[in-house]
Amino acid sequence: MTATDYAIDVAGVTKKFGDKTVVNAVSLQVRRGEIYGFLGPNGSGKTTFIRMLCGLLTPDVGTGTCLGFDVRTRQRDIKRHVGYMTQRFSYYEDLSIRENLDFIARLYDLPDRRAAVDHSLERLGLVNRSRQLAGQLSGGWKQRLALAACLIHSPQLLLLDEPTAGVDPKARREFWDEIHQLAADGLTVLITTHYMDEAERCHRLAYLAYGQLLARGTVAEVVATAKLTTWIVTGPGLPPLAAALRGRDGVEQVVAFGNTLHVSGRDAAKLESVIADVRAPTHEWTCVRSGLEDVFISLMDGAEDNFS
């Protein structure tokens, strides 16, 4: 294996299904030991992109390496060193936790299989449930099992496709602590999510919509790319104010957050002139750093314009 700084280094990766371009010329670099967040609306091509990284699909166009192996030709080597957790629970519901882990361990031909299974049961706190059938587990425990199973062969890269969908906040918190621990030990993690709090816990992010990579970088960098200005309004009578703002030139988003209103737009000057119009002393207006969610929605709207 070549010693490269990047766990994932691909350029111009494109995948078509029929005449539909699902992933369009995506380039991505992920450093070793990094937690990389992969965001985007449903159907944006995230899963397809991940499948190309772990050797399940071959890109139509584009080149690159995953863990130093060519993604087009060395798919078998990639599979050996990558742990892939599918979006849907994909272990055997009619097998117990231990049987599932043992099956995977056998497939990878681990030298000390029993010890590896025991170790992974311990680390994920599954020892007491090892005889339970996977189908009887709750969502959170299924997710733990899936994580244990894709870590059992000590991969160098973990690809997690919406691992926390439908998992309660406490289990999510524990899951992310575990991910950070793994990354600290040198594991590279690429993770897709729809949760903004999770996106903020990643070292770096990429935003994919309609098969296009729209933004990437740290949270601050991504926010900066969007060049979005956001104002927060507090005060009485917010619903009529929101109605008055919607549809005005320069106002792109008007979102109610509890007792506040977030108003944002890409053109700061235009936005300010609209605000000057409706500004009343009863309301307090503050200009803030745009949130990730505002940024992503703005990116998506912008992309929609380009594609329609």
Binding site: T86, S90, Y92, E93, F103
Partner: protein, 377 residues
């Protein structure tokens, strides 16, 4: 197979065994189907039906008529349980299906017989099902030639039936008594194996895909060939359990003769089981979901039972149907099983039936491996 690894194959085999053990319904089906089919075909279905309800309308009660009726009764085919006095009543019995036959003995039967006029006895049959009436009618023909010989003695002797110009001697080989079970029970082996083996494996890969486990499997280093063989191996054992069950029943319940070598039969059964499992695997790579897989299996099963010579005589079918039947492994396996058990055939005699099964296995397996590779890309 480049990169084949036994440990991965073994992993799949073990997993399949655990899943088989947990899936009670399927496990029950694998044992239940042979038992059910044995009971149905072995005990209930009879291609030489006897004791058929018969009505008699005898206008002549003389000794000749009585002899005739007694002979019919003792042939075993006719159950003389109805009596009709008028033609209308006889018609009604036939139409309602109360009786299969009506025998009409005319009132001048004895008189015309004595005059040497060859009187006619009218036998009316409900021939909607030829299989039901056929054997009884041929038994009747045979008996009519000789039945009255005992009564036609002395001066009446010249009235006895005369022999035709040629006498055919028929010697029924292998199953002289025409016992249906001798034919059906060995044939069941192929039918049961086709039915269960194809369905079980047709579901095997479709189920993995439907439950989402296939994606996971593909992301591991396991090879298509390993998955496929790993899914086939456990069911070979199941197939052998079924074969043994049928052989035991054939021997102990139906007294089917076993003239040939059982080890040879077991060896050939392996090929046949593998061919069916491979067929099922191929279906499961083609089908989009488990329902489709089951439908495909049924689609394969029907010609296997109808065109193989199990239900109907193979040589009685039109050429195209024979040709189609020859493509099915069950056709050849039936001949092998019947050959070994009933005729005592050895390897040399069954060899012509082995290679078509081998060819079938090779083709189907190739398709399966080719199709499996494409599943995600």
């Amino acid at each position: 197979m480049n990169g084949f690894a036994f440990h991965r194959l073994w992993a799949v085999v073990l997993k399949e065994f655990i899943q088989m053990r947990r899936d009670r319904a399927t496990f029950g089906m694998m044992i239940g189907i042979p038992l059910l089919q044995l009971t149905l075909f072995g005990f209930a279905i009879n291609s030489d039906p006897k004791h058929l309800s018969t009505a008699i309308r005898a206008a002549d009660q003389g000794p000749f008529a009585r002899t005739l009726v007694a002979a019919m009764r003792s042939s075993g085919y006719f159950n003389l349980d109805h009596e009709a006095t008028t033609e209308a009543e006889a018609d009604r019995l036939l139409r309602l299906g109360e009786v299969q036959f009506v025998i009409n003995i005319p009132e001048d039967f004895s008189r015309r017989l004595l005059r040497g006029e060859r009187p006619t006895v009218l036998l009316e049959a409900d021939a909607t099902d030829p299989a039901a009436t056929g054997p009884a009618l041929s038994a009747l023909r045979a008996l009519s030639d000789r039945v009255l010989d005992r009564d036609l003695t002395g001066p009446l002797a010249p009235l006895r039936a005369k022999a035709g110009p040629v006498d055919f001697a028929i010697h029924a080989h292998y199953n002289p008594e025409n016992i249906t079970q001798y034919n059906v029970v060995p044939g069941l082996m192929g039918v049961v194996l086709t039915m269960t083996m194809v369905v079980i494996t047709a579901l095997a890969i479709t189920r993995e895909r439907e439950r989402g486990t296939m994606e996971n499997l593909l992301a591991t280093p396991v090879r298509p060939f390993e998955v496929m063989v790993g899914k086939i191996l456990p069911y070979i054992i199941v197939g052998y359990v079924q074969v043994t069950l049928i052989l035991l029943a054939a021997h102990y319940f139906f007294n089917v003769p076993m003239l040939g070598s059982l080890p040879l039969l077991y060896a050939v059964a392996l090929l046949f089981i593998a061919a069916n499992l491979a067929m099922g695997i191929t279906f499961s790579t083609l089908a989009k979901n488990q329902l489709q897989a089951t439908q495909m299996a049924t689609f394969f099963f029907l010609p296997s039972i109808l065109l193989s010579g199990f239900m109907f005589p193979f040589r009685g079918m039109p050429a195209w149907a024979q040709w189609l039947g020859s493509c099915l492994p069950n056709t050849h396996f039936l001949r092998i099983v019947r050959g070994i058990l009933l005729k005592g055939n050895g390897l040399a005699e069954i060899a012509p039936e082995i290679w078509p099964i081998l060819l079938f296995l090779a083709i189907v397996m190739t398709v399966a491996v080719k199709r499996y590779r494409q599943t995600l890309d």
